[in-house]
Amino acid sequence: MSLKSFSRGGVHPAEHKLSSGNAIQVLPPPEVVVIPVSQHLGAPSKVMVNRGDEVIVGQLIAQSEGFVSTNIHSSVSGKVLKVDNFSDSSGYRRMAVQIQVEGDQWIDTIDRSDDLVKNTVLTSEDIRKKILDAGIVGLGGATFPTHVKLMVPKGKKAEYLIVNGVECEPYLTSDHALMMEKSDELLAGIHLMMKGLGVEKAILGIENNKPDAIQKMQKMTEGTSVRVQGLKVKYPQGGEKQLVQALLKREVPSGGLPIDVGVVVFNVGTVYAAYDAVMKNRPLIDRIVTVTGKSLSNPSNFQVRIGTPVSYLVEKAGGLPEDTAKVINGGPMMGKALSSLDVPVVKGSSGILLIREQEARRKEVQPCIRCTRCVGVCPMGLEPYLLMTLAEKGMYERLEQEKVMDCIECGSCSYTCPSARPLLDYIRLGKAEVGKIMRTRKAV
């Protein structure tokens, strides 16, 4: 089989898929969970419970506010301890619901059996409604509400469903585990999403470092309208725009979305969650999280309830190793460093990565020697060295002309820079400032 890949830039960091091949372990709920009401892109949801309320698994605790927003459900059964501000992964305090776990009682509409439900009489409208109700968001990390993506805007037509099983971030294996263990459900989910979107063709893209998953999915999809495509291992292939280009040779326009070229992209985790939501009436109350690190005794793939503290996960994976210096929520390329383990797992958490002391620090920044590596690896065809200088000097107009807003913040430039220059730090700053300027301009 010929392998495909995106054409511009890209890097290949060491893969370190330590927890690859480990079965998904279902973790029991912890003693206390903290469920933030803003786990998705868009407006925070409105809290529906009060202190002292009894809640059970699957109960709605925060309701969608507006179109780009979603519902949030209790992931445990127990008593609401507090509705207050709690530190999120950046340390800033945001509204969340804290629940003391008591027993494990579920809402009875949820089908908790393992039976595979394949066919449905639901219309695409019903499917969207169910997905909205279940609070499904993109589980790849962007956490964009899924029901919004299923609504194809007027004047545009979806032609392909692309399912993202790339998992190009080093270390992370949750999608891999999912594809291996829940392949039937995943396939049913893909057909479901195709129905929801009204498309005839679907492509599942998987990187070549998961040959078992490619093989398995290929075997299962033979003779169906779902095609499995192997991809060369290259970061950031999991980026929507890169994946669409790799699979279909279509380039999403600058500032546009995949739907502009007739494509909708979902992560495998999202598709699986959508299957659960529609066929099993099961809202998004848990997700698969990779807990990994070179010194960690048991790198694992856990199925954990939303709101579980990170410290609980680390404990279950063998405890925090002595030499841990950095804890990352996500993968090493795009993940966010945590300042404390006392933060909850949210819908967008794909992994917890513990980095050892010797690999945790940045190198000393040297002057730019114009080696052109950053330009060469940029998957968006930008010039990171220039963007960094412009952002540093506050030249935001120039920055906008140089297409800073196209940057997908994949970090390939900073990763590859021999002078250890903080390219992405400044580009991110520039994006924030240019974004502000653009918003005020729109408002005027």
Binding site: S87, S90, Y92, S339, P422, R428, L429
Partner: protein, 290 residues
């Protein structure tokens, strides 16, 4: 030989004359009338081009001064009333006096009072840290200590104290241009009215968390207890979102609030020591400005 010289001179003179005539007409055609008073006013301005007035440079400000009939909201913080009076005299207009102001750092989260829970290892720029997370200390409003304010100061009036990890304003040099206020991603810096002998009383905290949370992050945080609010005889103190604020225009520097504050969040600076006080706040005596 002489013929060549004469020819050369002749050609050059002709070219020169032709060019002069063309230039003259071009200059006439594209002449832009500029009010000569703009130059005069610009001369009177401090030429710092700091942007403190809200205009890109001194010349733009001078143009606006010449054009505007009333000078509402037009003020050069660097030159102050003196400069504005001079400009007013040139134009025969009336300057609106403003009390001189000075930048004040409203955070006292030194490592001693605000423990550092983690270590930042990235680009040492406040705004990047602010966009990333709360910072090394837990306080989401506290000074990040990387000196974005120092970088933007055109007057060398602000510098970082390596011990406290906080910026220090040099009152004599500060022109209240507001560049640091703009640069600080956490809005810690405030322009306050300049008092006699550079005396100041202010709440050195902008944290709006609830008292218990604030206290956990920083022992000298304002906890919103309202004690100062109650004791103030001049209604200079307002309470908002668990935070006390002293209006520098109303404050009469009576120092009653300083003693009341249970967390020493209110600072008095450059005052003579109190004689009768027993519960002398340690922090209040620390001279923060030079």
């Amino acid at each position: 030989m002489s013929q060549i010289i004469l020819f050369t001179i002749g050609t050059l003179v002709t070219i020169g004359a032709a060019a002069a005539i063309i230039l003259y007409f071009v200059a006439q055609k594209f002449k832009v009338f500029e009010d000569p008073r703009i130059d005069e006013v610009e001369e009177a301005l401090p030429a710092a081009n700091c942007g403190g007035c809200g205009f890109p440079g001194c010349r733009n400000f001078a143009e606006t001064l010449v054009k505007s009939d009333t000078w509402d909201g037009l003020f050069c913080p660097v030159g102050g009333n003196e400069t504005m009076a001079k400009a007013a005299a040139i134009l025969g207009k009336e300057a609106i006096e403003q009390a001189p102001r000075v930048a004040v750092i409203r955070c006292h989260g030194t490592p001693e009072f605000r423990p550092r829970f983690n270590e930042y290892d990235g680009t040492p720029t406040c705004v990047i840290i602010h966009n990333l997370y709360t910072g090394e200390g837990g306080c989401p409003h506290g000074c990040l200590g990387e000196g974005d304010c120092v970088v933007v100061c055109d007057f060398d009036a602000i510098h970082m104290d390596p011990v406290t990890d906080l910026p220090v304003v040099v009152d004599d040099k500060c022109t209240a241009c507001g560049a640091c206020v703009e640069a600080c991603p956490r809005d810690i810096i405030e322009l306050r009215k300049k008092n006699k002998k550079d005396r100041k009383i202010f709440v050195s905290c902008i944290n709006e968390e609830k008292g218990a949370v604030a206290k956990k992050n920083c022992s000298v945080a304002c906890i919103g207890c309202s004690k100062c609010f109650k004791v103030c005889p001049y209604e200079a103190i307002t309470m908002n979102n668990n935070l006390a604020f002293i209006d520098s225009d109303k404050c009469k520097l009576c120092r009653k609030c300083v003693v009341e504050c249970p967390t020493n969040a209110i600072h008095e600076i450059l005052f003579p020591p109190r004689k009768t006080d027993k519960t002398e706040p340690v922090e209040a005596e620390t001279k923060i400005g030079d």
